[in-house]
């Protein structure tokens, strides 16, 4: 039935994540070919496109830990009709958010100035480098997120199931064994 359909344009990115979710996406193995019959990729680590054009679907891994992440997220929100937060980090900040009880000033100082083995250190101040936020935030703290896909990373089966639902026009659901926060 879906044979006549125009391919959906999909963009993906990794913000404050570990690429684990993207690896899991690739883990859907041979089903990737099936997926590629339905979608084509815009900006994504899987392609080389640097800026996102108008897309049907944006899939974002990782939360927000610096100014750059916020810019990319906003670009995605502007370009994509539907945004999915993929993985624990995108959904609730994940492991990077475990730094949230620390003062970012102390973190930078420790890393660049006072840490073991550092002599005459200094904190980089190059405008090219993205400045860290004082706390790591989940995506929905800054833009509207349409769907959440939990897991660290979400199992390949869950991603497959989720995308299938989404592409078929069903509200995605994950039952026992697929819904995982770990």
């Amino acid at each position: 039935m879906a044979s006549e359909k125009k391919k959906l344009r999909v963009a993906t990115t990794s913000l404050a994540g570990c690429f684990g979710c993207h690896m899991s996406l690739l883990d859907i193995d041979e089903r990737l070919l099936e997926l590629l019959k339905l979608v084509e990729f815009d900006r994504s680590p899987l392609t080389d496109i640097k800026h996102c054009g108008p897309c049907d679907l944006g899939i974002i891994e990782g939360g927000l830990c610096n100014a750059e992440n916020v810019h990319v997220l906003r670009e995605f929100r502007k370009s994509c009709k539907v945004l999915v937060a993929m993985g624990a980090c995108a959904v609730n900040g994940g492991l990077p958010a475990q730094r949230n009880h620390l003062d970012i000033r102390d973190c930078l100082q420790t890393v660049y100035m006072t840490g073991t083995g550092i002599r005459r250190g200094f904190i980089p101040n190059d405008p090219e480098l993205p400045l860290p936020l004082d706390r790591v935030h989940p995506l929905h703290d800054v833009v509207k997120i349409d769907y959440f896909l939990p897991g660290c990373p979400p199992p390949a089966d869950a991603i497959w199931h989720f995308l299938n639902d989404l592409l078929a026009g069903r509200t995605p659901t994950l039952g026992h064994g697929l819904i995982h926060y770990d």
């Binding site: 624990a88 900040g93 660290c152 026992h176 064994g177």
Partner: protein, 256 residues
């Protein structure tokens, strides 16, 4: 038993028999009907604080763990309205603490997580509070990670009523309410907690952890990885593989 029919109430259209003095939650679980709950533990007096077990009886919402079953009650439990309410309560518990399941030793055996799975909670929906709560690693055998405490008071009750030690207590109020230990130093090492204590075994989440036990059971093979909580809680868990079947009430509207 002739003539001595057991009294019954109806839950979502199914008859549930009960013994006089039983709460709705107790009777439902005994009859194999799951009602989400967190602060209830069969060995302790019902507490009524998490409100996950909320049901609707004749139009009024009540906590089923503290409400006595009555003949003829019409109890609504897994209606869209009540399930939505429970999803919100689970989301409340997630945002008020720091729950990073991927790095939590309790993941897979955690009741909060398992209830959230059962309810199909895909995200916390609200903006997380990210409270700052220190960890207490002072005890030689036990680690306390307050970040995950849902304030169910089970450890407090177990330590007071079973162990007779009053190791745990609560201080503060409102969103600042927090678990404390019975020592001027505030350190677990300076309390009488021992690994054999009942208080070690009642925490539904990953706060009170035995040291040097990390990841003995691999992720993916733990209690609720094997069986959904709605089966475990009513003793119905049989060996079964992940089915991928969506939970009865579908996805969270809030999370979507």
């Amino acid at each position: 038993m002739a003539g001595a029919e057991k009294p019954m109430f109806a839950m979502d259209g199914n008859d549930v028999p009960f013994e006089p003095g039983q709460t709705i939650l107790q009777a439902a679980l005994a009859a194999g009907r799951y009602v989400p709950h967190l602060c209830f533990h069969p060995e302790f007096k019902p507490h009524g604080s998490c409100k996950l077990c909320t049901v609707k009886i004749n139009g009024r919402t009540v906590a089923s763990c503290t409400t006595l079953a009555k003949q003829g009650d019409e109890v609504e439990s897994e209606t869209p309205e009540i399930q939505d309410l429970r999803r919100n309560l689970v989301q409340f518990l997630f945002v008020e603490g720091n729950h990073f399941c991927p790095s939590c030793e309790k993941s897979g055996s955690c009741m909060l997580q398992a209830v959230a799975y059962d309810l199909g909670v895909m995200a916390e929906h609200f903006s997380p509070f990210f409270p700052s709560r220190p960890i207490d690693a002072s005890h030689p055998d036990v680690l306390l990670d307050f970040n995950r405490c849902i304030l169910c008071e089970l450890c407090i009750r177990a330590s007071a009523e079973v162990d007779g030690k009053n190791v745990f207590a609560l201080s503060g109020r409102g969103a600042k309410k927090h678990l404390i230990v019975n020592a001027e130093s505030g350190r677990l090492a300076d309390t009488r907690l021992a690994v054999e204590d009942k208080a070690m075994d009642v925490c539904p989440v990953g706060v009170i952890l035995r040291k040097r036990r990390g990841f003995q059971v691999p992720i993916g093979e733990r209690k609720y990885d094997q069986h959904p909580i709605r089966e475990v809680a009513v003793g119905k868990a049989t060996a079964r593989h992940a089915s991928g079947k969506p939970s009865p009430q579908g996805p969270s509207k809030e999370g979507a």
